[in-house]
C-alpha cells in the first residue's frame, strides 16, 4: 500500500463506488436504449445540442489529469505548474474554429483517421493511427491508474481493486449506451465536478489561509514560489502544445465535432475552454497547502486527495472521491468510445473486413470496447510511472500531429510525404527530448520539429481538392483512397 494514513473507512468507499457504479451503468443503459443505427451508437445521431455539447467537451477535458495531475505539477513545479496546466484550455479554444470546419467539410465523416486518409493518403493515415492508438492507450492507462491511486489514497483499498472497478464500470456503460450514454453521463459528471472543485477550494482557503501556505512554502520549498523556475518556464508552452496536440488529433474531439448538431461545435468548444481554464488552478492550489499541513506525499500524483482527506476528514475525502470519480468516468468512457470508433472504422473496416455491414460494425464496436477495457486493465495493473510522466510521454507523439492537421484542414498545400515526415520526425525528437531533458519539453520539441517540416508544405502547389473530404465515410472496398 502506498499510503497508510487514510481517512475514509473501506465500507464507505465501497458504498460510494457501488452507488455511482449503478448510477452510471443504469444511465448508460437508459440513454442508449433507443440507439437504432450505427450513427446513433457511434455519433449520438449527429444532433447533440448546445448544453450537452458544452458539458461533454468540458467534462471529457476535466480528467484525472486535471484533478490529480494538475496538483502533482503544482507540487513539483510550483505556481507555473498549475498555471501552465490551465493553458490546456487553449487546445479547446483553438479547436473551436476547426470543429466548425470539420462539421462543414465532412458532414458524413466518422473519425479523425477519415480525414488523414483522405487528405494525406494511406501512409500518413497508418502513421497517424499508430500515434493515435498509442496516445489513447496511454490516456486510458493513466485514467485507470488514477482511479486506483485515488481510492488507495483515501480509503487504503489496494490499488488494483480500485483501478479494476473504475475500468469495469466505465467499460460496461460505454458498451450499453455508445456515445449517447457517454455524453449524457458527462452532463451529470460536469455538474458534480464543478460544484465539488469550487467547494474544495473555498474550504482550503478558509481552513489554511493564503498566508500560512505562503509562509510554509517560502521556508521549505522556496522554488515553488519562484516565477523564474527554469523547468516551469520550459513547461508553460510545452503543456499548451501538448493540449493542442491531444485535441487536434484525437478522435475523442473529432467524434464530438461530427456528433454536434450543425452550428454547435464552434460555440461549444469555445465555451468549454473558458469554463475549463480555472479548474487546474483551483485543483493545483489545493496541492500547495500540503507542506503547511505537514502531509507526507508518497507519490506526487496523490497529493490532492491526501490534502482533502487530512483537512476535512471524512467529508472532504467523500467530496474529492465523488469529484475525481466523476472526472475519471467522464473521460474514460469518452476515450473508450472514440478509440473503439477509430479501430472499427479505420482498422477493422479499413484493413481487415472491408465489406463489413453497419450491423456487423456495431457488433464489432461492442467487442472492441470490451477488448480495450481489458487491455487497459492489464496495462494499468503494474503502477510503475507517475501519472504526469506517463501522460507527458504521449505528448511527444500527439504534438507532432498539430501542424499536419491544422495545415491540412485550412490549406490546399502539402502532401502525404510531408505530413508523414513531420509526424515521424516530430515524435522521434520529442521522445529524445523527453529522456535527454525532461517530460516538460517533449511536446514542445515534437511540435517545433513537425512545424519546420510542414513549413515546406507552404512552398508546394495548392492542389488538394476539398470536395474529396465531402461525402466520404470509409475506405473503399480495397482499403485504399481514390
Amino acid at each position: 500500500m502506498l499510503n497508510t494514513d487514510t481517512v475514509m473507512p473501506v465500507s464507505v468507499a465501497w458504498t460510494i463506488i457501488a452507488g455511482f457504479s449503478l448510477l452510471w451503468v443504469w444511465l448508460g443503459w437508459w440513454l442508449g436504449r433507443k440507439n437504432d443505427t450505427l450513427d446513433d451508437y457511434m455519433l449520438a445521431g449527429r444532433k447533440v445540442g448546445m448544453g450537452f455539447a458544452v458539458a461533454t467537451a468540458m467534462a471529457t477535458w476535466v480528467t484525472s489529469n486535471t484533478t490529480m495531475t494538475a496538483p502533482q505539477l503544482a507540487y513539483q513545479l510550483g505556481i507555473w505548474g498549475m498555471v501552465g496546466y490551465s493553458l490546456g484550455a487553449v487546445g479547446l479554444l483553438l479547436f473551436a474554429p476547426l470543429a466548425r470546419r470539420i462539421r462543414t467539410m465532412m458532414p458524413h465523416g466518422f473519425t479523425s483517421g477519415d480525414f488523414i486518409r483522405l487528405r494525406y493518403g494511406n501512409t500518413a493515415w497508418r502513421i497517424f493511427l499508430v500515434i493515435s492508438f498509442f496516445y489513447s492507450l496511454g490516456w486510458l492507462i493513466s485514467l485507470g491508474m488514477a482511479g486506483g491511486l485515488l481510492i488507495n489514497a483515501l480509503a487504503g483499498i489496494p490499488y488494483v481493486y480500485g483501478m479494476s472497478v473504475i475500468v469495469i464500470v466505465c467499460t460496461l456503460y460505454t458498451v450499453f449506451g455508445g456515445l449517447k450514454a457517454v455524453i449524457g453521463t458527462d452532463f451529470v459528471q460536469t455538474i458534480l465536478i464543478l460544484v465539488g472543485v469550487v467547494i474544495l477550494a473555498v474550504l482550503v482557503i478558509n481552513e489554511v489561509g493564503f498566508d500560512a501556505i505562503h509562509a510554509q512554502l517560502e521556508a521549505e520549498r522556496p522554488e515553488l514560489l519562484n516565477l523564474l523556475l527554469p523547468a516551469s518556464i520550459m513547461f508553460l508552452f510545452n503543456n499548451l502544445f501538448f493540449g493542442v496536440g491531444e485535441i487536434f488529433h484525437s478522435n475523442v474531439w473529432w467524434s464530438r465535432a461530427f456528433a454536434f448538431a450543425p452550428g454547435v461545435g464552434f460555440r461549444a468548444y469555445a465555451l468549454a475552454g473558458l469554463f475549463w481554464l480555472p479548474i487546474p488552478i483551483v485543483a493545483g492550489f489545493v496541492a500547495l497547502a500540503a507542506p503547511a499541513l505537514g502531509i507526507n506525499v508518497p507519490s506526487p500524483d496523490m497529493v490532492a486527495p491526501l490534502v482533502a482527506g487530512k483537512l476535512f476528514g471524512l467529508g472532504g475525502a467523500i467530496l474529492v472521491f465523488v469529484v475525481v470519480f466523476a472526472a475519471l468516468a467522464s473521460s474514460l468512457d469518452s476515450v473508450l468510445a472514440a478509440t473503439s470508433d477509430l479501430i472499427v472504422k479505420d482498422i477493422y473496416k479499413g484493413h481487415i473486413r472491408k465489406d463489413a455491414t453497419d450491423p456487423e460494425l456495431r457488433k464489432a464496436t461492442v467487442w472492441i470496447i470490451l477488448g480495450l477495457g481489458a487491455v487497459t486493465w492489464v496495462l494499468s495493473v503494474p503502477k510503475m510511472a507517475t501519472l504526469g510522466s506517463l501522460l507527458h510521454f504521449t505528448g511527444a507523439f500527439v504534438a507532432s500531429t498539430i501542424w499536419p492537421i491544422a495545415i491540412g484542414l485550412l490549406n490546399r498545400r502539402g502532401n502525404g510525404i510531408l505530413a508523414s515526415t513531420a509526424m515521424v520526425l516530430g515524435t522521434a525528437t520529442g521522445l529524445y527530448a523527453y529522456f535527454a531533458i525532461g517530460f516538460y519539453v517533449a511536446a514542445l520539441v515534437s511540435a517545433a520539429v513537425s512545424m519546420l517540416v510542414m513549413l515546406l508544405a507552404l512552398r508546394t502547389e495548392p492542389t488538394f481538392d476539398w470536395a474529396k473530404l465531402n461525402g466520404s465515410t470509409s475506405p473503399q472496398s480495397n482499403g485504399e483512397t481514390s
Binding site: G78, L94, L228, M234, L236, P298, A406, I407
Partner: protein
C-alpha cells in the same frame, strides 16, 4: 516505429532497479526541476523516519509508516538523507544533487513556444478565411 514505441513503453513501465532495492533510493529523479521522490519499498520495519542533514545536524522530514516521500521546490545544492527503520539506520546516507536548468535554456524553449503559438494563431485566422474563400469559389 511500432517496435520503438513498444520498447520505450516497456522501459517506462517495467520497474527499475531502484524500485526493488531494500534501501533508501531515488524513485523519481526530477533534480533539474528541484523535486525528487525518495522511497524505501522493501526496507524491513514498521515505523520509518527520514532525516536530512542540515547545518544544525540531522532534521526529521518524515516519521510514519509510509514507504516514500516527495520533496520539491529545492534550490540548487547537495542534500543528504538517511532512512531510519524502527530506530535503526538503513544503509548509508543518500546524496541528492539539485541543479536547475540554466535560465538561458529555459527562455530559449519559451521563445520557441511563443513563436510557434503565434504562428498557429496566424494560420488558424488567415487559413480559415482563405479556406472559406476557396470553398465559396468552388461552390460558385
Amino acid at each position: 516505429m511500432l517496435v520503438r514505441t513498444i520498447i520505450i513503453l516497456a522501459a517506462l513501465l517495467v520497474p527499475n532497479a531502484s524500485a526493488i532495492a531494500a534501501d533508501l533510493t531515488v524513485a523519481d529523479d526530477g533534480t533539474s526541476a528541484g523535486y525528487v521522490t525518495l522511497s524505501w519499498p522493501d526496507a524491513s520495519g514498521n515505523t520509518f523516519e527520514l532525516k536530512e542533514q542540515t547545518s544544525q545536524g540531522w532534521h526529521t522530514l518524515y516519521r510514519g509508516s509510509d514507504r516514500a516521500t516527495t520533496l520539491s521546490g529545492r534550490p540548487d545544492g547537495t542534500f543528504e538523507f538517511q532512512l531510519i527503520a524502527d530506530g535503526a539506520p538503513v544503509g548509508a546516507p543518500v546524496t541528492v544533487t539539485v541543479q536547475h536548468h540554466p535560465l538561458s535554456r529555459a527562455w530559449a524553449f519559451f521563445a520557441v513556444g511563443a513563436t510557434m503559438f503565434i504562428a498557429l494563431l496566424v494560420l488558424l485566422i488567415t487559413g480559415g478565411r482563405s479556406a472559406d474563400a476557396d470553398e465559396n469559389q468552388t461552390a460558385a
